[in-house]
Symmetry: C2
Subunit: 331 residues, 2 copies
Amino acid sequence: MSEPADIIAALRNCNRLLISVHKNPDGDALGSQLALMLALEKSNKTVVAQNIDPVPEIYRFLPASSRIKTGSTVEGRYDAILVLDADPPRTGLFDGNYPADTRINIDHHITNPAEWPLTWLAPSASATGEMVYELIQRLGIPMDREIALCLYTAIFTDTGSFRYSNTTPKSMRIAADLIEAGADPWLVTENVYESFAYRRIKLLGNVLAGVERTEDGRIAWVVVTEELFRRFGASSEDTENFINFVRSTKGVEVAILFRQTAALQYKISLRSKGRVDLSGLAQSLGGGGHKNAAGSTVDGTLDEVKERVIGAVNNAVEAQLGSASLDGRRS
Amino acid sequence: MSEPADIIAALRNCNRLLISVHKNPDGDALGSQLALMLALEKSNKTVVAQNIDPVPEIYRFLPASSRIKTGSTVEGRYDAILVLDADPPRTGLFDGNYPADTRINIDHHITNPAEWPLTWLAPSASATGEMVYELIQRLGIPMDREIALCLYTAIFTDTGSFRYSNTTPKSMRIAADLIEAGADPWLVTENVYESFAYRRIKLLGNVLAGVERTEDGRIAWVVVTEELFRRFGASSEDTENFINFVRSTKGVEVAILFRQTAALQYKISLRSKGRVDLSGLAQSLGGGGHKNAAGSTVDGTLDEVKERVIGAVNNAVEAQLGSASLDGRRS
């Protein structure tokens, strides 16, 4: 594992750089990628940004986002590859053949195995964007409005607009600096949280109308079927955050979203309010995840999948929190 | 209009204080009220907090919130009355007979007419909580975890968790200080945004499933009927924020919520995304409001009320933004 000083030294010797982030890129990945690209270009580097997946519509307001290349084949060689916000294999690119001798990995996920010598891992950072902010400062590259907007979006989205427990005094102070440098909080909000497709609100309504929960109220779930997608011309992208509505219900410890991916297959997303650790559970369902968020894909009819998953979640809840006190159930 | 220095001087001479906030108190009003009560008690004042309306359930996690008295009759006399976050008549208390010679008004709403000589008005503050933070600092009262939690909640809620355009570098830096003093961002989030009644999520689903919009997509609306309230055992408190889901739809400039209050009566809420000014419109419908938020109560059948309100909103949208370009309608 490395320190930013080593990464700064390595960057000084490189002129042609490739920056990539993980599959299904989010606001932190894209904001960090674009901010670093724009900053390194200001110090006269040639920078290419490439990801396997396209930029989701809600992030296309980010400066230079149209310059991010998409596709699984990386052409040419570079002086350095930078992978941000992910363990390098999670880019879905390269297939193990990295077209550069200098490989830099910058991430705040504690699960990153830090396999590259030039890995800077800061699990205390709320977002990779916080680390990129520090890197740009230490590189002596002046902040501007475009870079500030990208970094603000990175921190804003990875803290759930400063709602989650990863929100620190440091993330707030960096955000303050970024607003001063020209980042517009409402512009980011309007694009990220106020630009949902009309089909999404109809889908959300129909999905939430079918919410169910266990007798003790500690587990609640919703189901998105292929039929619902068809009815509203919607896709999986439209279901982002649906599970958070379920989690935000009082008394709910674990929320589940069942999303149909084939006639007899469901993608499962799990969210914990923090008292139930989901990491072991996801493994037992053949998936992966962290303490508060996990997922898996399970085959079967909806009834079979629900029975299996809700049963497993219930076992985890009872093992970790004890049996339900039905008195505790509220409204 | 006054400065905090005058208010500080006045406070030094008072020992028995009453603090009140506006009807239907929100997070900023209550957080400011409780923080100032706790701080003044630390400097050995006797403080009573009283409002006309009770503390909403989501704010009962605030320290000392159970000590806020409720009711329209104020008993006894005080050395000073402090009204926070509102023009004094908006407390709904006192009926013009204020039982104290010293009257202090602290508010960030630009609409406050500042009729009391000791009025401190700071429209640039994101929240009254920001002003109370400054006041406590200038009074030399040390910050503690409980006061910090109250002030953090005040700023957090009035900026919509740092999403709205009133979010400034100063509000972010104060929030950083408050986290350092012990305010827990997730504790506030969990109580304010993650503790909705189960009936609310069912109601939300059924309401959103019925969303409609105009041909050009610039006006969208939902309806909450008495039948829906009955079906889910829900009440108007459960509909808070519903209109924001409608506003957050792409292309929507004005969102409308029709909430049935009697067989032939509907309460109308309007929200603008910022480009349509609603202040005149609310007046023409017999209600009140500001640029981005307005409301009214309209009599009639649902069809009559919808036709009248949507027609008026459409006139306002066309007058202010021009005729619709149907090309502009997205998804």
